[in-house]
């Protein structure tokens, strides 16, 4: 009651994860997906995904666990390739938007004045344009392909985190520990880097997990619209192809793609929930 933090936060976080079966499940899903994505990217797994290995639309069997698609290619290999696309999208988009959002948010919140006015103007402009329209226009202009998706998602998704970080910095910069740092003559850089940033890390981490899963969902949607990755399978294109297959009773490409995506997004949602419970002091008070 008297001491708000008894144990370091990362220890509490780890304990929160390890004491709940659901969280262990979520963490292992994320780790396995990362591993799969890395293996696919380095060519260890699913190297030959575009080679047809069987007849068109073979149902799942022991030989082909997830069956084959219309061209007789392995659905499992396509799924693995799709994992690579999804995880890389999540990673790059989250990194990009965090960098933009944190830099602008910290600058705006800390220095205030004209910098703040400009940043606020910029993000209110961007939020005014409905997200989906901005995304569409950007991918439309940048051309189709995975890089276009990284950039357009990254450029649209920094706004939320920027606003959060700005608010948090404004709250923190008048706290006594920052004033105390000023009183011992600390420079702006020192105050920002050693004092402010470590105290807002948790928000950045929570946001990273959130943006990661939103990016995966958005990529699937854009891929479905034909704006996403070309010449490589993604979950979005797989579901798109399943549109007509489902009615013909070919359920497996759809089911497995849906399941894969559901698991990853669920895992990230659960993790960000645990992160929030651990790191957000507002909820800790309860």
């Amino acid at each position: 009651m008297q001491h708000p933090y008894k144990t370091p936060l990362w220890k509490i976080f780890l304990r929160n994860i390890l004491t709940s079966k659901i969280n262990i499940f979520a963490l292992s899903i994320v780790c396995i997906s990362c591993l799969i994505a890395l293996c696919a990217a380095t060519g260890i797994l699913a190297n030959q995904w575009d080679v047809s290995i069987s007849d068109s639309h073979t149902p799942p069997s022991l030989q082909h666990i997830c069956g084959t698609d219309i061209l007789g290619r392995s659905v499992l290999d396509k799924l693995i390739k799709g994992t690579e696309v999804a995880m890389s999208t999540g990673f790059f988009v989250a990194t990009l938007s965090i960098i933009i959002g944190v830099v602008l948010g910290v600058l705006a919140g800390y220095f205030g004045g004209i910098v703040d006015t400009c940043v606020v103007w910029l993000y209110s402009t961007i939020t005014s344009i409905p997200n989906i329209m901005l995304l569409l226009s950007l991918t439309f202009i940048l051309g189709k392909g995975i890089v276009a998706i990284y950039i357009s998602l990254g450029v649209t998704m920094w706004v939320g985190i920027c606003r959060l970080i700005r608010g948090e910095v404004i709250k923190h910069k008048n706290r006594e520990y920052i004033l105390a740092a000023s009183a011992i003559g600390a420079s702006h850089f020192r105050k920002l880097w050693y004092h402010l940033l470590p105290n807002i890390w948790h928000i950045i981490i929570i946001q990273f997990a959130l943006i990661f899963q939103v990016a995966i969902k958005s990529e699937v949607m854009l891929s479905y619209l034909g704006l996403g990755i070309q010449n490589s399978p993604s979950w979005g294109t797989m579901i798109d192809e399943a549109k007509t297959e489902l009615i013909r009773g070919i359920w497996w490409p759809f089911t497995f793609a849906t399941l894969a995506m559901f698991l990853i997004v669920l895992a990230f949602n659960l993790l960000s929930d645990t992160l929030r419970d651990t790191l957000d002091p507002k909820l800790k008070k309860k």
Binding site: I22, W121, L122, S124, T125, I126, T127, S128, I129, P130, I132, M133, L134, L136, S137, L138, F140, I141, L142, Q213, K217, V220, M221, Y224, L225, G226, L227, W235, G236, I239, D240, A242, K243, L246, I247, F254, T258, M261, F262, V265, L266, N269, L270, D273, K282, L283, K285, K286
Partner: protein, 312 residues
């Protein structure tokens, strides 16, 4: 400051935002976007053809004049004609926007009411089994892709069970209702998970406030504490959140309309993308942004009315 001056001030504040929107869109379409005439006519077009098309689209003017044209179109609401359908854009937008609205408004209301009620139940039983289950269910609902929802529901409810129309639309009343039922249900499922979680957080925030303890110390029952004291405070962020969502109802859901072949604004946009219909995309982007700005203004005004603490 009274309310009138406040509204006037907020209106003035929207000017730089609208200019910002125009500039951003201009930057995306007219500078980064390359030459749309070339995109439209293809690589093998003759120079003369391109020149005449460029003239027709006003692309041979200087960038500054093009920018002025864009600003002009914001204030005159004249976005010209679609390249693809050759129809006046505003007329088509009005028609399809209304269809989108009739499709998404009823589910919006139902989902609001449902999620607020479920969030209240969850907050009432906070920390207990029911609450934990509800949170888990809402996370699961949030984690399913929109594509999967559509395909699954369409296949199961419309195809297998034959409860609903598979796709299509009929403009006449009441015929259209049978077409929007299934898409409507999907829309509810899409938003309810995140809404429950958001409202639950807002409610719990209020429940932990000191004045709730005061209310309990007065001898009020938990239900009346929840319905009177908590809800009235929580309604401020909830209502403002809801109003900011309204403009998106006109935009509809691209994917749902596309799948169910409902000729709403979303479908209109998808067609525009597939046919590289620049003016349409530009017009929709600008218009939706302006509607958003206006609704944001409305939100702020309603906020000041709802919350007695706000000083103008």
């Amino acid at each position: 400051m009274d309310l009138k001056t406040y509204i006037l001030r907020r209106l003035l504040h929207t000017i730089p935002i609208i200019i910002g929107i125009a500039t951003l869109i201009f930057f995306i379409f007219n500078i980064v976007g390359g030459d749309p005439a070339l995109t439209l006519l293809g690589k093998y077009a003759k120079a003369k053809q391109i020149a005449s098309l460029r003239h027709e689209m006003g692309l041979d003017k200087s960038l500054f004049l093009q920018y002025i044209d864009l600003l002009k179109s914001i204030f005159t609401f004249d976005f010209g004609k679609s390249w693809h359908t050759k129809q006046n854009i505003i007329t088509s937008l009005k028609e399809s926007g209304w269809i989108s609205f009739t499709l998404s408004f009823p589910p919006f209301i139902i989902s609001c009411a449902l999620s607020i009620i479920i969030a209240m139940v969850s907050a009432f039983y906070r920390g207990q089994f029911l609450d934990k289950t509800l949170v888990l269910i809402s996370i699961i609902l949030m984690s399913i892709s929109i594509l999967s929802y559509i395909l699954l529901f369409q296949w199961f409810f419309a195809f297998k069970l034959d409860w609903f129309e598979i796709a299509g639309y009929d403009k006449g009343f009441p015929n259209f209702i049978s077409y929007i039922l299934l898409p409507g249900i999907i829309i509810i499922f899409l938003s309810i998970g995140s809404d429950i979680r958001l409202y639950r957080t807002i409610l719990l925030d209020e429940i932990n406030q000191d004045y709730i303890r005061t209310a309990r110390a007065k001898g009020l029952s938990e239900v009346s504490v929840l319905f009177k004291h908590v809800l009235k405070n929580a309604m401020i962020p909830i209502v403002t959140n809801l109003i900011t969502q309204l403009p998106f109802l006109f935009l509809g859901s691209l994917l749902i309309e596309n799948f169910f072949a409902i000729p709403g604004l979303g479908n209109f946009i998808v067609t525009a993308i597939n046919t590289s219909d620049f003016p349409v995309i530009k017009a929709v982007t600008i218009l939706s942004a302006i509607v958003f700005v206006l609704f944001n203004l409305l939100t702020d005004i309603i906020y000041t009315i709802l919350d007695p603490r706000v000083k103008l």
